[in-house]
């Protein structure tokens, strides 16, 4: 006669018990997943009725956690993911701007690089961080919680400008560096965008950067600004125009690659310190604000 195996019963009990025991993690994951799905559906619905939404009316606003209170530049990857970074530390974050979630973060350099980082962009398969003195840090995108090595390059433009914005023009293969404070007397009185060719020319030499100058008075137009200090630059993926944001003047303006002003207008209200700008292919304008009177945040608008 077979004796009743106590251990067998215990092990056998694990099965049904496991089935019944819905873990806290699983519950939370299900709840989060449902919430994120609801957010995405809501955004889609808003975009489908975009005619009823004005250009200054936010369609999503995500409050950022404390470690992103000094959020600065924004960059969109080729597959439409949003990368951002803090002001002082070389940590890059991926934010799902449609669903309001910090997806991952990775660190640049070990030990982590420090500096006055002002802008971020994607150049083919590399990510570039720009320091205000014109030094570029190049690295590959890392996995969550990873540490990635980097290469450093000085553009040599730090004497002429203090930079705060950067984007990459894939059509011309040039980096666009937006100048916040112009140090070169000859350039003063203009919005200055340096165009820095990426890669060597036919002779194997790196072409020198060239400035695109747009006189202040052309940009300011009827607005009551006395100065313009751009804090970030993006390229409109549809028109190819350069779109800039200026945090101090709370200004938003666009120029063609030739330097002709397309429009200039005040930012929608409630932008305390707009530090980053990005425009998606599906007509979303994304603006990041550093924490000032409230928490740092990312705001989404309909882009025509």
């Amino acid at each position: 006669m077979i004796r009743l195996p106590l251990w067998g019963l215990l092990l056998a009990a694990i099965g049904p018990l496991s089935a019944c025991a819905k873990s806290d993690a699983a519950s939370r994951a299900v709840a989060d997943s449902a919430l994120l799905g609801a957010r995405e559906a809501r955004l889609k619905q808003l975009l489908s009725n975009s005619d009823t939404i004005g250009p200054d009316q936010p369609i999503a606003l995500w409050k950022l956690p404390d470690h992103l209170k000094e959020i600065s530049g924004l960059a969109l990857t080729a597959d439409g993911r949003l990368l951002t970074h803090g002001d002082e530390h070389g940590t890059v974050f991926e934010i799902d701007y449609r669903r309001g979630e910090v997806v991952k973060s990775f660190t640049v350099g070990s030990p982590r690089i420090r500096g006055d980082f002002e802008a971020i962009t994607i150049v083919r398969d590399s990510v570039l961080l720009l320091a205000s003195d014109g030094v570029l840090y190049s690295f590959k995108e890392g996995a969550d919680k990873s540490v990635v090595p980097f290469a450093k390059r000085d553009t040599g433009l730090g004497k002429q400008c203090e930079f705060e914005g950067m984007t990459f023009d894939s059509l011309t293969n040039m980096l666009l560096l937006a100048c916040k404070h112009v140090r070169d007397k000859e350039l003063k009185g203009n919005v200055v965008i340096f165009r820095l060719p990426m890669g060597a020319d036919r002779d194997g030499k790196e072409p020198p950067p060239s400035p695109l100058l747009i006189p202040f008075d052309q940009v300011i137009g009827s607005n009551d600004w006395t100065d313009l200090r751009p804090s970030d630059i993006a390229i409109d993926p549809v028109s190819g125009n350069y779109v800039l944001v200026a945090s101090i003047e709370k200004a938003l303006f666009a120029v063609t690659p030739a330097g002709e002003v397309v429009f200039s207008r005040p930012l929608p209200k409630d932008h305390d310190q707009a530090e980053g700008i990005a425009i998606t292919r599906d007509h979303l304008l994304i603006i990041s604000d550093e924490a000032k009177t409230g928490p740092a945040r990312i705001t989404l608008y309909r882009w025509p």
């Binding site: 496991s18 873990s23 606003l61 919680k145």
Partner: protein, 362 residues
């Protein structure tokens, strides 16, 4: 237990080898887990460690600045008491199943047979407690600090006899932690790798200093004869011989052999039948006085060895053929009277031949 023992016996073809039996146990456990996956796929979250990924992931929901906090509060369900109780039971049973083989290995894979029962029981209980604590603390910083304070108050500190025992305790904590964060796969891998590593280390005596091999490692020579139980010349304490260093064992064997040849059972009647061992701090004077007695009471005698050690009394060894008419007590009394204060101790060890003769005389 009997059922499992039988099952393990079947799988190992009745082998008593620890590696095979351990492998059989884990195979059975693995089969149970596979069956679990097959029949109850939803049980996977406890085994695969979804919870630990949630804890360590950077993914973080952002607060919606337009619709506000009410959005989250409305959608996130809370865990029921039954769910929590069942999760705890599953975690505890799994921890038990994973720590049992560890306790077996602890009791088996050691050179001495003094496995501390307290440690064995701790190995089973500690992971259960750790897992329970982790289930309670979860991600609460406040609870974690409270726990720190309580543990500091308890002063759970002890001195282990063997450094390796501490490693077992650490493993117990590791398995408990993994189970507590509902990552049973990590707990299982910890248990499996640890047990097999310990068994292999024990099996191959890993880490022995090859420049100073143990006496056991040089078994064939010269200890083999000395340590065997079934021969007349065997050293009585086999474990003592095995504990000697090779050098000391060789010296002992040499002396043992020599004396044994002289005094032990042989075909011919031995020339000497006893060994007189005397310790003294005045070798010359003692020697002269002892030899006077030997001339009177022994048929023949020979000074076999004088061993002098710095800081210790010298030892004199005489091979003596004691006359039949002289008893051991009389012989030693005469030696002590003659030598007086010049000797510290005197012992007469009778050989086999002498003993047999004395026995026959009686």
């Amino acid at each position: 237990m009997g059922f499992f023992k039988q099952l393990i016996d079947v799988l190992t073809l009745g082998s008593d080898k620890p590696l095979r039996r351990l492998l059989a146990y884990y195979l059975i456990l693995g089969a149970v887990v596979l069956a679990l996956f097959y029949f109850v796929p939803s049980a996977g979250h406890l085994i695969k460690g979804d919870h630990i990924r949630t804890l360590t992931s950077n993914a973080q929901l952002l607060e919606d600045g337009l619709s506000g906090a009410k959005e989250k509060a409305a959608d996130v369900p809370t865990e029921s008491g039954l769910d929590l109780a069942l999760t705890t039971v599953v975690v505890m049973l799994s921890t038990l199943a994973l720590m049992l083989p560890v306790s077996w290995v602890f009791m088996s894979a050691r050179r001495t047979r003094d496995a501390d029962q307290g440690v064995v029981q701790t190995l089973i209980i500690l992971p259960l407690v750790v897992a329970g604590i982790v289930l309670v603390v979860r991600t609460s910083l406040a609870l974690a600090f409270s726990l720190g304070g309580i543990v500091a108050g308890l002063r759970f500190r002890t001195t282990m006899q063997d450094v390796r025992d501490i490693v077992y305790i650490f493993l117990g904590i590791g398995v408990g932690l993994a189970a507590g964060v509902q990552s049973l796969i990590v707990a299982a891998v910890l248990s499996i790798i640890f047990n097999f590593a310990i068994l292999l280390i024990w099996r191959y005596d890993f880490g022995r200093n090859v420049l100073e091999p143990t006496a056991n490692a040089q078994w064939a020579e010269p200890l083999s004869d000395l340590a065997q139980r079934d021969i007349d010349r065997a050293v009585p304490d086999r474990e003592l011989v095995l504990a000697l260093s090779p050098k000391k064992a060789a010296v002992l064997a040499k002396r043992f052999d020599r004396v044994s040849k002289i005094l032990g059972p042989t075909q011919k009647k031995p020339r000497f039948n006893s060994v007189l061992a005397v310790t003294t701090e005045a070798v010359g004077e003692a020697q002269a006085r002892i030899e006077l007695v030997l001339d009177q009471l022994a048929r023949r005698w020979r000074l076999d060895q004088v061993i002098t050690t710095e800081g210790k009394p010298a030892a004199l060894y005489y091979l003596v053929g004691v006359r039949k008419s002289v008893s051991r007590d009389r012989f030693l009394t005469a030696i002590r009277e003659s030598a007086g204060n010049t000797i510290l101790t005197a012992e007469l060890e009778l050989g086999d031949a002498a003993s047999q003769e004395k026995q026959a005389a009686k």
